[in-house]
Symmetry: C2
Subunit: 570 residues, 2 copies
């Protein structure tokens, strides 16, 4: 294969002189030894995908909530059964007709996206010879504008088992208005598409289902299959045990956290406040806690359920710092989910009031404007460190709103804990030294080389999506299950996207949504964490997971969250 | 071995119930699979250390500068030859007498420190049966206060090939005053020490030599041997080709940078400004550039040599951003050494003036105080982003000085480039979108699991230090060379610490110093970078090194800087 040869020449870390005619980023690039070693990493398939199989439908499905509304929103697709692939010697899905299939990446990066595409491609090459595959460029906008690249073996090869979404890139546009549906329709017709695979998160999969409904309602042959993607891990259900990318991202963050822990213990004088990506749900933070055993882990869902205030959170941290000081430990590691303050109702209230006031008033130096705050919001505002107060007042988005996402929660908490400890010091309740160090781990994890698990899982998701499309399915999300078992025993099929949906009332209308799967306080991962955290808080049970290994006996380990949710105590 | 058994029980990531009687952090802890897999990682030794050998002295040495002053400061040790181990069947160093040896970790963490200790220990176990080894706790203060732990096979085992310094911990105290020398002397006498190994950076090795001189001048039998440690990579010479920890730390940072690069290319809309640890020299930044090919890399030594101003640096970045925008690339990755602003003379001048003014004046809102700044400093001050101005004025250390180390250079540069690009936009010279994302990679790299290179190199450094002590040497730094060759062919010996020294005038006296090895603009690593950087700036030649691998064909790769300095084009 030309591409393989081109790549293997570039082993030595030097600049490539060869730039191939396709002009893609990867061909013009150089690969590290590790990147190179991943290109030919063998990907085992679930055994059902290795033989002749047929697609078996389950019972009619319902919805996650408000089935009658979902039925109205999806008149063609509502109620359709989930599908399972089962081995079948007669092989009803061995028709070997050629297909025209598109694929699109939607939303933020997650390790493994390239393998989903490879999986679809390889399925078509094996089972539907003569097929054509289109990669829509730059996300859903590429579908609407008909911007695509024809995928070939040479084009795909350099992206196998590689991180990033740069093969065709992604985008955050949505296909949801009638005009946008029409544009997508035109592309589907122009390319004579038999199917489209949408690789995305909860929103993107909701929109994928709307598109499937739209195509079906117009009697277009184009089927739409979704794939569960997000490092946040909040797109999952009984049939979709995990979203891809979560495993790799958590392992990368856990590597860094583990290193910081060893540093904390070696240095003995810093509290490291580590904020982790994941704005909506705290799965990443919880998984990293299970992998590394930090002294304190804040879980947004728990903060919300317990209606904690920022003062509560600060006091809880200060309590642990004081107790640890009694044991002579003046260091520690604290994990904070990116979305923490979204879970604190009083902060939401303060921000709402600030937005209202700042829209109409000037912020006078004398602080007269403050009098417009309700007493409890004023109290909270005064509790905030000066730098955060200024940030709230000065840095606003183009609509004039306070930019919550820009608040560096880890730095804010360091300052608040510092202030609290100073007060305790004055009362004689604490007499050690507190020094905070802040970290934010985010972008480092979204495009890492996918772990063996994500590589294999994504390949199966893509391969399965190909099978679903070939068998004429639409409005399903590719579902690979039984993930605690060896790969050969993994199940493959598709779940009705409508079955994952509920509705939300927006602007007086019902809108379908796939609800984000939040951390369940009664779920096995949280319970395991909760039963250990006191031990982790006061003693030092740090674990350093180390860098992701791709070969050797430790390479195939799966994340704790998934295993615990599958009933396996990792 | 009891420890081995205890550890292997802890494979499953669960809490250990067994805490051994020594009560160390590691025993009470749990290991990840990767940590566990490293415990028994085989460490090849240079072949000269596997057979009988003798120590051969080279010619008399001089000093790196002002030999006559160094000779005065080290009357006993000055001029002593370097020592090389050579195979010798008669084996003059096979006396097999038992020794009492101490070891101390000094200064910041670097991956591999535990392996230096294991190397010394294993040397003594093999060649000096019946020896006792003391690990001084908490750095040089442990030597002065006589705080130590007796090292045993069981105690050492859990730290083999593990990151961190937590086996005995480190500290930043120095042994340099007569009183402190006396304390160290008392400990040496009390423990009847034959030798002490000081594992540290340039300062620590300077002090190790002063201690060696002191012991020798008082006819104490205690010999002192240094070991070159620092992730910064700035302790090196012809005989000491690299300091340990540099290889691992750079690989960890490069993993993160590579991931961020793939993210930048996939997202297509962010400029990532990555500040990297390394305050004095820019070796880490240069090495990471060679590993990853960023669009822009600032090297402090070059900024200094070219007498660049902050405005120059800003303009240079803005130029690349504009040129890339012409090619449709509105993203990129920029590496910045932690110590950048220390290399910009005008910033030093501004800080000096600020310290002077702030010591005597109040900072009035109206800005009258500003009139005391010289015109060029006033201009620079006004060029700085508001947040940085405030930081300079408000956050001062206990002596009232501006805290340069706290300036987040990456954020400062983002804001300055933003301002510059806004101005160019108004002139019609730029019409794209610039969005900066800031990162600081530091603590993540100091305590990672050591790479195979650092594991092996450190073990040889320690083993060699044992041999030097056994053969009666003092005032040498353990030196392992020929590192581009297979491990068996590595050379082992010791270099006279006085040969690395020059003097600096401080408080009217000459003080000996081992000069930090800065990035040489005529050296092979910088030249390779310089000859490629234009290509890297405008095109996207990103390399993603991926996570450190411990097994497989890619596990034994050595960093570019070392290889290039050894004349090998990596």
């Amino acid at each position: 294969m030309a591409a393989a040869a081109a790549i293997s020449l570039l082993n030595n870390g030097d600049l490539a002189s060869s730039v191939n005619s396709l002009g893609t980023g990867r061909y013009a690039s150089v690969y590290s030894e590790v990147q190179n070693s991943r290109l030919d990493h063998p990907l085992p398939l679930p055994s059902v995908l290795c033989t002749s199989f047929k697609v078996v439908d389950g019972p009619a499905s319902s919805a996650a909530g408000h089935p009658e509304e979902i039925a109205k929103l999806f008149p063609c697709l509502y109620g359709q059964p989930s599908a399972s692939l089962v081995p079948d010697a007669s092989g009803d899905v061995a028709m070997n007709q050629s297909l025209k299939i598109g694929v699109v990446l939607s939303g933020g990066q997650a390790p493994g996206g390239h393998n989903v595409i490879s999986g679809i491609f390889d399925y078509l090459q094996t089972h539907c010879k003569g097929s054509t595959m289109y990669g829509f460029r730059g996300g859903p906008a590429g579908v609407m504008r008909g911007k695509y690249v024809v995928l070939t073996p040479e084009f795909i090869y350099p992206y196998r088992n590689q991180g990033g979404f740069d093969m065709i890139c992604s985008g955050r546009d949505k296909i949801e208005t009638p005009e946008q549906f029409k544009q997508a329709e035109e592309t589907a017709k122009k390319l004579d598409l038999d199917g489209l695979v949408v690789i995305g998160g909860d929103d993107s999969n909701t929109n994928a289902c709307l598109l499937a409904e739209n195509f079906r309602s117009k009697n277009l042959k184009t089927r739409v299959i979704g794939c569960p993607k997000t490092i946040d891990g909040d797109l999952k259900s009984k049939e979709v045990p995990t979203s891809f990318g979560f495993d790799t991202a958590c392992k990368i963050y856990a590597e860094m956290i583990g290193n910081v822990m060893v540093d904390a213990r070696s240095t003995g004088k810093y509290y490291h406040f580590v904020r982790l990506m994941g704005r909506a749900a705290s799965h990443i933070t919880l998984e990293c806690a299970l992998q590394t055993h930090p002294n304190i882990t804040l879980i947004g869902e728990e903060v919300f359920a317990k209606k904690l205030t920022l003062k509560n959170v600060t006091d809880n941290i200060a309590d642990v710092v004081c107790k640890r000081a009694e044991s002579g430990y003046n260091y520690g590691v604290i994990l904070i989910p990116e979305g923490l303050i979204d879970f604190i109702p009083e902060v939401q209230q303060l921000i709402a009031e600030l937005n209202e006031i700042l829209a109409h008033d000037v912020v006078d130096e004398a602080g007269v404007w403050k009098k417009k705050l309700t007493p409890q919001c004023l109290e909270l505002f005064d509790l905030l460190p000066l730098a955060i107060q200024e940030q709230l007042l000065l840095e606003r988005d183009p609509h004039g709103n306070v930019q919550v996402a820009k608040i560096e929660t880890e730095k804010m908490l360091i300052q608040m804990v510092e202030t609290e400890l100073d007060q305790r010091k004055q009362k004689g309740a604490y007499n050690a030294q507190f020094k905070g160090q802040s970290h934010f781990f985010g972008y480092e994890g979204r495009c890492g080389l996918p772990s063996n698990f994500d590589s294999t899982y994504c390949y199966a998701l893509g391969y399965g999506a190909g099978a679903l499309l070939q068998s004429g399915k639409t409005g399903l999300i590719s579902s690979v299950g039984n993930l605690a078992a060896p790969v050969e025993e993994w199940t493959v099929g598709g779940t009705a996207l409508t079955a994952l949906m509920d509705v939300e009332r927006r602007h007086g209308k019902f809108k379908p949504v796939i609800k984000k799967a939040m951390v369940e306080l009664e779920g096995a991962p949280f319970k395991k964490f909760a039963s250990n955290r006191e031990e982790w808080a006061l003693n030092n049970r740090y674990i350093n997971p180390g860098p992701i290994q791709f070969v050797g006996p430790v390479a195939n380990k799966v994340n704790h969250t998934l295993l615990l949710e599958l009933g396996v105590d990792a």
